[in-house]
Symmetry: D2
């Protein structure tokens, strides 16, 4: 058993989620090697050193440029905002570090392509933080599709609905700033659903989209963390919101299935409602993130008269990853998906195989996102392949 | 109290639903006048005379042309297939009959426009069978929107999902024949959802659509009724299906809201799942037809910490039409919506006001349907106004 | 096809439900004979003659004594309050009328036993209005149990929850008057659940109960119908409530299963929530009346990893009685259960077999109710057989 | 910030849950002092030393007698089987250690009383592992009741349903052995529900119960962990099961409310279904553990016509403990409840106040359990106070 030393960039929402996963992982899973929380890196020395204590890292640093060059670091984990993925990722892989990067991989397909190529050339392990792929119920869904339990797929119906910025007084946080976040609901939420559509159905052929910014100006913001923001400041100046509040698109998949994805931060009552349903020739499945331990399954081959969507509690020992947790019905939460994704990442490093989703998947997702943005701009169908 | 004599054209699925409504109506509602089941009309003399007995009509006829001219008939009720609405409706209104017509009003906007104009000119009462408008929970939804309980509307998310033709051996019944039905899922199911979108949100500005026929050939059919069909005939010759199995479209409403409507007969496990959700500035509402007595309501102005979608059982005396039925919680069904719609229709005749939805609404729905079909054909956004 | 002439006693809540069923029945079901709404009978001449018109009866009368003797009447249908079942039922059967009687059969086991014996001796058809037995989903449940789909039964968990008298100002209507209603929630609601427990599980061996009257005094009432009551009268004098607001009991079934039944009119938010779940060796089923078209079914023999309660929409042609109604997913309501029960009743008359549930079932239910009341009084387990 | 050194007894299901909580706690909550995983103690030296590594403890030991005397240990945490709580707890408190003990506190009221007295006398902090009290939705429920949002309480309806031993071949694990577990479903599951009934409603006056062992003999077992067991051994000898498979009881609360609690391991399809509903004068609340992030709330004071159970996602920053976790809608799981309970425990030690639930609550729960057992034995109502 050898040490895998991690250098983590970022210590906010995702930094916390990853650190926690590093701590929980060895208690529940048998990894080949020892995961060591070595260095945490952030811009503010005071804050990052506090984070080191809180999250159990031995050291803290402010220079990611130095971090990615350190010989005693084996893994770089990037949880910084979206506009700050490309440079550290490329530097890291060029320094032969394995890299885990939060989603979206980059602000656009071109950058993502560069990152993918750099990682490929460097021959290092690379993974992207599409953590919803690691919800046991979703892994089960994938398994069912692989086993042809749904047959030919006709429909994918996906949505990611939130409501946290409906208040017009809510300030223009970084997620509402195009230069930092790239896009609004589309990139933040849509990226997850696009990835799941690719994971579960097929690659995406073409898209046709529309989008809207319902609240066009918001108060400027000073400081924020996670999805929260500081209280309304009466004197704050109003700034233009340059990202979408909602983006909706239709999809034609390469296998002939039809799809829709709706992403919005203006669906009152929906907190983190990542939803999808897939209808196939032999059955249907449905999932809601807010009830992430459940998968609904309609088996068109059930006995006539006794057919119906059944609610599978994907929390039994037989279900993906669940043997490692609690007895059936003792539900798990959001944070456990990070444990699963890092289990796969670290095992891929120890054992030398490639884990998924990787930079390739991150890049493909960016390509679809770019196609959606182009479609919004030009009011027409856009072929994903046309994005270079 | 005077008699209103009804001449009913058609005696299958909708003929039965209407006849039953005529029988139930006086037991539960106080109508101004007496509804008399006078004549039932159909092509097959033997079958229509049996239907007269079964459904309580005094007479049966095979000639609608004669029926619409009879002096002792005050109302013509058209429940024939979609390609057989225009002629009887126009003849009837020209003979000064009040006309109730099943949906869709016609096979296209042009025909619908003629029907609307004829009825307007004749100054008779006219109504269209968008019976979902008479589900108490949906009337409640409308009332809430009128009272501004949702505020500015951001999203309409509608669907009508069925699965009754997923079996490739299911024959090509009239609903799958373009010359009779006009279109497939789109006209049959989409018409209802489009009407509700107009009823609840606003008029539709433009649409962008896609559609698919998943099973492109089916066995020919001899006879069928309702949605069922005779068993598979091995010797049946295969015929091309020329209507859509699924049609999906995005909507821009005149009030700035964004919408989506998905209609399909290939959503396994969904029997008659007419669904919509509306998200507004001050709240959201959600409805599923299969639980038609329920309306989900999120009030964004509820006390913080105690917010959430509440399940309103729209079956209390205070709810629309429910005072006439049973005590709270004693749920009603599909057929009751017909009682409500005919209550409004006959009252409009007796009292001289106009009831809704009328031929105007039927025509507007056809206009949207035509826009959707054009969008499918041309792969682009289509303005509803461009349909003449 | 001959006429079966019905004499209906009572014209309020149940009178309306039955009359409506008589009107709907021939439109949807093929009965052997013709059901004729001949005479309606009530105490108030003015009101009963209006009811005759409204409900489609040819005549009205005020004397049930005369009605039960008329040669042209074949069926007596009793929908009067509970304390007014015994006399007309016994007179009717002695006059060789077939009798349909609303539940509970009588105010106590002794009276019920007399009624049962009288009907048996007269050799007439007799049925009791446990209409919940005619919900398609419940018939399906019974069929599943008969087919041994659940195996050995371990648990029955039943409840009937309402909230219509929670307001202390709600007056003391007849259902709260022991001399008329016999008991409170227990007899009104419990009777239905007890009957279903017997129908679905087994006979009841012994019971142990508790009960409470939460609001001990209420304003007197002048007039009421159904479950509603006239508005609060400030000057109304307060009267003691002598029936239970809630009654809860444990059950030991003759087949070794354990059961619980809870009935209350003080469960805020529950309108007509008749619920049961049955757990057996090979599966479980669950039912809620407010979603009466649905049956939840857990099949313990499903494929491992894909098990879960499935939501059967008991609205397909294959489901009990549903072939006669609408296409799948077009849900039915409370009133349709009456159509089903009268279909069985009239067919039993025409064809000469015995239909269920009959006076025997009504009597057995009264025996259990008496045992529950004794248990409440004596704070101990009571054997049902000990009730004579 | 000083160190609080923990000595943990037991390293299986609960040992893992507690260790994980110790690791997660400082990442998400600001505790006054530092929680140190010092010593883990178990009977098997080999296994316990492995557990020390896995769960992050500095040392392992096999002698709890020595552990409880060590000067460098401040807290003893007992997660051993139920028959092994009393001795270490009493020794520990007599050595002035603060003690956290898993539920049930003891095998009977008498032992629990001794433990309570010892802790009281020693003036140490003591807490019991009723972790369901720390589900945010349940804390919210308690808060609502404290704020009188429900008014006078009429009903408590609780259940804890599982199905993990329905297979007759499942062996007689320790939880089915009276000498180790004390009782079956009753003590294991009922303890949690009784505690919640006391927490949310009131103390319990009297109970009346029944119980059953459906499968009376099972194969002997060699080894097991958590709730799972080794595969069926054909040669295993059959042993009598001396605990209840199901226990059901009625409750009269000191405040006049009526209650029921049903616990069973024979409810097919229910994995860990801890359920309760409370009906009060001003509202109702409902909770299911398998959807532990949700609380259903019916507010009888909502606007008429818009009333209904609302689904509160108790995952917003405003909800108990949730500020420390993720943004709204990012659900938490079973394990997080342990983080909350230990946060309260360690804070009580650091700050000198008393945390709840403590040994007093554990003792009161045992008293009710003893009353239930006596009621089962004697087939009658038993006053809780009569248990000494």
């Amino acid at each position: 058993m050898k040490d895998i030393n991690v250098g983590l960039i970022g210590y906010k929402f995702m930094g916390k989620a990853h650190s926690n996963a590093f701590a929980m992982l060895p208690m529940f899973f048998d990894t080949q090697d020892r995961i060591v929380r070595k260095v945490i890196c952030g811009r503010d020395q005071n804050m990052v050193s506090k984070a080191a204590v809180k999250f159990g890292f031995s050291e803290s640093m402010t220079s990611w440029e130095e971090l990615v060059k350190r010989d005693d670091i084996h893994v770089i984990d990037i949880t910084a905002p979206s506009n700050f993925h490309k440079e550290p990722a490329i530097e890291a892989v060029e320094n032969k570090k394995h890299v885990f990067c939060e989603k979206p991989l980059a602000l656009n397909y071109k950058d993502a392509f560069m990152m993918y190529n750099a990682a490929k050339k460097a021959e290092v392990k690379n993974q992207i933080g599409f953590n919803y792929r690691f919800v046991p119920a979703i892994v089960l869904a994938r398994k069912m599709i692989e086993q042809n339990k749904l047959g030919r797929i006709y429909h994918f119906r996906g949505a990611f609905l939130q409501d946290w910025i409906m208040d017009p007084d809510f300030p223009k946080v970084w997620r509402l700033d195009k230069s930092v976040a790239g896009s609004g609901a589309l990139g933040d939420l849509g990226a997850h659903v696009i990835d799941l559509a690719r994971y579960l159905v097929a690659d995406i052929n073409s898209v046709c989209a529309m989008a809207e910014t319902f609240i066009k100006k918001r108060p400027a913001v000073q400081e924020m963390t996670g999805l929260s923001a500081s209280k309304k400041d009466i004197n704050a100046k109003m700034e233009k919101v340059d990202v979408d509040d909602a983006a909706i698109f239709m999809i034609k998949f390469t296998n002939g299935a039809l799809g829709t994805i709706e992403t919005t931060r203006f669906a009152g009552g929906h907190k983190n409602d990542m939803f999808f349903e897939i209808n196939g020739e032999k059955g249907s499945i449905r999932f809601y993130f807010e009830r992430m331990n459940e998968l609904l399954y309609y088996n068109a081959e059930d006995e006539e008269g006794y057919m119906g969507f059944r609610l599978i509690q994907a929390s039994e020992g037989i279900h993906p990853y669940m043997q490692s947790w609690w007895p059936a019905g003792h539900v798990i939460g959001y944070e456990n998906t990070f444990v699963h994704e890092f289990y796969e990442f670290f095992q891929s490093i120890s054992l030398g195989h490639n884990a998924k989703p990787d930079f390739y998947d991150g890049m493909k997702c960016c390509q679809v996102l770019d196609a959606v943005e182009l479609s919004i701009k030009e009011n027409c169908w856009v072929s994903v392949d046309s994005i270079k």
